[in-house]
């Protein structure tokens, strides 16, 4: 349902073939599309507005690079600005307070606090070699304390024994003194989910904050969140003063505008991403990835840059000539396989091509692996130059030789040859469509498992 931003902008710029600098009216037309793209990605409206203003300042008068189209140029400017606003990669959780440092975890109901507490606990214990104690202050949700206890057991992180009936603030104090007694570096405090407009519960969390003086207060928010993101983040900041944001369910397929909304509205860094339900599904925040995702596009300019880096011009021209003549041979295929590997494998390429979101999803299951690319290269290398120019020479005994030489099986060789045949015939078709067709329909016949 979401068109890629580059495609949208392509429309805007259709009759504007590559003139020098971007004019104000070009930029305004483009920014209308950018606005829609951001809103469709669930970026909150006030943030969209200020963001667009920022882009306008940068884009008007910018020179369009020779190698890219005006649409791609605008996308790059938007993308760069987005990365800037999203802020730096800051994975670190702070502990400069005297041990034990409290880390308070807050957020709306069901956002993923308890799971995230366990993930952070496990990460601190394993990677950072910290001694960690976790405590649930959630006396409201059924079995919430039990949930953290079970997760602690799974993750090998100690949890504070549950005392039924104890109030959240008292649990927090007990956790801190237990942490001190046990010589812990960090005490993770998981709290009950609460609405940012629930006065009583916001007062409760403010009191807990006051009582524990945490080194970090992390707001755990769902990356599927829509327009509500700004209000929630602002209110939590006001009342509890978080030091960082953790976005969960980044493994979903939402465009994740909430990241931009929350970051821009509060200035709080996004520290970590939750990328699954398992204990180790916790990742450092990469602004560039999130930016591409929000824009619903691949890194177009990155594609252009990397493509020119890896493809030598003459080579490209030679290949084009061969394809045109229908003389594409196994040597050329080997060259292509090498290029694909250099460009970061199929995932890398597919991620960069605009408008291939759908193809990419289809490919998700039939994932292409680098090992396969290497094996196929090896097969071709084990052929004689004559065989490479004329695949028909490869009879059964030659195939056996090639398989042996490349450490593969005859089946592998056959599979490669079959793909090569398909690829040649598709290339002839693509040839008729012209270059645009090649981009639109994805790279034809790339080897797949």
């Amino acid at each position: 349902m979401f068109d890629s931003l580059t495609e949208r902008l392509g429309g805007v710029f259709e009759n504007l073939k590559r003139r020098g600098a971007l004019s104000e009216s070009d930029v305004d037309a483009a920014l209308r599309e950018v606005r829609v793209a951001l809103l469709e990605a669930d970026v909150a409206l006030p943030v969209v507005k200020s963001f667009i203003d920022g882009v306008r300042d940068r884009a008007v008068g910018a020179e369009v690079l020779r190698s890219v189209s005006p649409a791609q140029m605008v996308v790059k400017i938007v993308h760069d600005h987005l990365i800037e606003v999203l802020g730096p990669e800051t994975a670190d959780v702070e502990f400069h307070a005297a041990a034990p440092a409290a880390v308070l975890i807050v957020g709306l109901q069901g956002s993923g606090k308890t799971t995230t507490a366990a993930k952070i606990g496990s990460w601190l214990t394993g990677r950072r070699k910290k001694k960690v104690l976790m405590a649930s202050l959630d006396t409201r949700r059924p079995a919430a304390q039990e949930q953290l206890r079970v997760l602690g057991e799974q993750a090998g992180v100690a949890t504070l024994p549950i005392v039924p009936g104890q109030m959240p603030e008292d649990i927090a104090r007990r956790a801190m003194s237990a942490g001190r007694l046990r010589g812990c570096d960090v005490v993770l405090l998981d709290t009950a989910g609460r609405l940012h407009v629930d006065e009583a519960l916001m007062a409760e969390i403010a009191a807990i904050r006051h009582a524990t003086d945490p080194a970090e207060v992390l707001l755990v928010a769902d990356s599927l969140t829509g327009q509500d993101a700004v209000g929630v983040a602002e209110r939590f900041k006001e009342r509890v003063g978080m030091t960082g944001i953790v976005l969960t369910r980044a493994d979903g397929d939402a465009r994740g505008g909430a990241a931009l909304s929350m970051r821009a509205a509060t200035g709080c860094p996004i520290k970590l991403l939750g990328t699954g339900e398992s204990i180790d599904a916790l990742e450092v925040f990469h602004p560039d990835r999130i930016a591409s995702r929000i824009l619903g596009m691949g890194d177009v300019v990155g594609l252009v840059e990397r493509a020119t880096e890896t493809v030598e011009r003459e080579e490209a021209a030679r290949l084009e000539e061969k394809v045109r003549k229908g003389a594409f041979d196994l040597d050329d295929l080997a060259g292509q396989l090498r290029q694909i590997r250099r460009m970061g494998g199929m995932d890398g390429i597919m991620g960069m091509l605009p408008g291939v979101g759908k193809v990419k999803r289809q490919l998700a299951d039939a994932r292409v692996d680098e090992g396969l690319l290497r094996r196929q290269e090896a097969i071709i290398q084990s052929m004689t130059p004559r065989e490479r120019r004329n695949a028909r020479l490869l009879n059964a005994s030659r195939k056996r030789r090639v398989a042996k030489g490349s450490g593969t099986t005859v089946q592998d060789v056959n599979r490669l040859l079959k793909q090569f045949k398909q690829m040649s015939s598709m290339m002839k078709k693509v040839n008729k469509m012209g270059n645009r067709g090649l981009m639109r329909h994805g790279l034809p016949g790339l080897p797949m498992r």
């Binding site: 409206l45 079995a143 407009v197 369910r249 465009r255």
Partner: protein, 312 residues
């Protein structure tokens, strides 16, 4: 952004007093925009933005605003009126899908499967529904179908105690489809009226987990070829446009028959439900308005629409 004169402030403050906490910001916005009493293109744009801010989605917001503009652009119009018109239009879309959740008494047990992405409120909703059925005197059984998440079984067991419904559970990690099988057998042998099946949260883009749901549906179909009689998708009101994808995929894979939207007691308006109604036409059965056992209400199209435009 626009000055408010003395005459306006009277009804403005009256209005404000009457507003619920979730409608405050939006209604203030619309009120602010329209004190001018003339619907020009500026105020139309601001209206569009207010609809966007309630998660209606860009295209639907644009369309509704354009329609409003066509019909009333030259006339004088009060703030109240404009909100009424919008609310009426939204309610018109929602009316056909506002269908209460009822168990067909001829099915014994009536089987309802509750599905959705992680943390939306499935388990809580199962607890609330069980309470509702129990109060109407229906013998209700809950299947603790989330065998995956830590302490999910304990959580649903507490809801069972609260509602007085029997909970059928297996050990953590057990096969959910197998458990469903057990629970159905049990419900039938006790001639229970209703069987509510809680399931583990799952993202719709996880095809392996979606296949597991498919299996549960298949197992039920083998036990009673009309089961499950309903498949409820629980949506979280704070979710933005991704809710459309959720409905699309869950419907395709496990035949969702109706929606429940939770957490409408917050500030999120759940406007994406309007887009869902337009696109899929699935019944919206109920809304969650709190964490308590009573906090489930039938979906009321008019009230929802009014809250959306700030007419509390």
């Amino acid at each position: 952004m626009i000055e408010r004169d003395g005459e306006q402030s009277g009804w403005f403050s009256r209005l404000k007093r009457g507003l619920g906490k979730s409608a405050g910001a939006l209604s203030e916005g619309i009120t602010g925009i329209l004190t001018k009493r003339r619907l020009d293109s500026d105020s139309l744009e601001a209206l569009e933005e207010l609809l966007i801010a309630s998660d209606l989605g860009v295209s639907l917001a644009a369309r509704m605003t354009a329609e409003l503009g066509r019909s009333r652009l030259d006339g004088e119009i009060t703030s109240e009126e404009v909100r009424r018109i919008l609310a009426r239009e939204i309610a018109r879309i929602l009316q056909p899908v506002a269908i209460p959740f009822e168990a067909d008494a001829s099915r014994k047990p009536y089987v309802a499967l509750v599905v959705g992405v992680n943390g939306t409120g499935k388990t809580t909703t199962v607890g609330k529904l069980a309470h509702g059925f129990r109060r109407r005197g229906c013998a209700t059984i809950i299947a603790a179908g989330d065998t995956f998440r830590a302490a999910a079984i304990e959580q649903i067991q507490i809801w069972g105690e609260r509602s007085g419904a029997e909970v059928i559970a297996r050990e953590p990690g057990a096969d959910a489809a197998g458990l469903t099988h057990d629970a159905f057998r049990r419900a039938r042998s006790r001639s229970a009226d209703v069987l509510l099946i809680d399931t583990a949260g799952r993202l719709h883009n996880r095809s392996d987990l979606m296949a597991e749901l498919e299996k549960i549906v298949r197992v039920l179909g083998k036990l009673d070829n009309s089961a499950p009689h309903s498949v409820l998708l629980v949506l979280d009101a704070t979710t933005g446009q991704n809710a459309l994808r959720q409905v699309e995929v869950f419907r395709k894979i496990c035949g969702v028959t109706g929606l429940v939207m939770t957490k409408l007691d917050g500030t999120a308006k759940g406007g994406v439900l309007v887009a869902c109604a337009e696109k899929f036409g699935l019944p919206v059965h109920a809304i969650g308005v709190g964490e308590g056992i009573e906090d489930l209400q039938p979906f009321d199209a008019e009230r929802f629409a009014e809250a959306l435009v700030g007419l509390g």
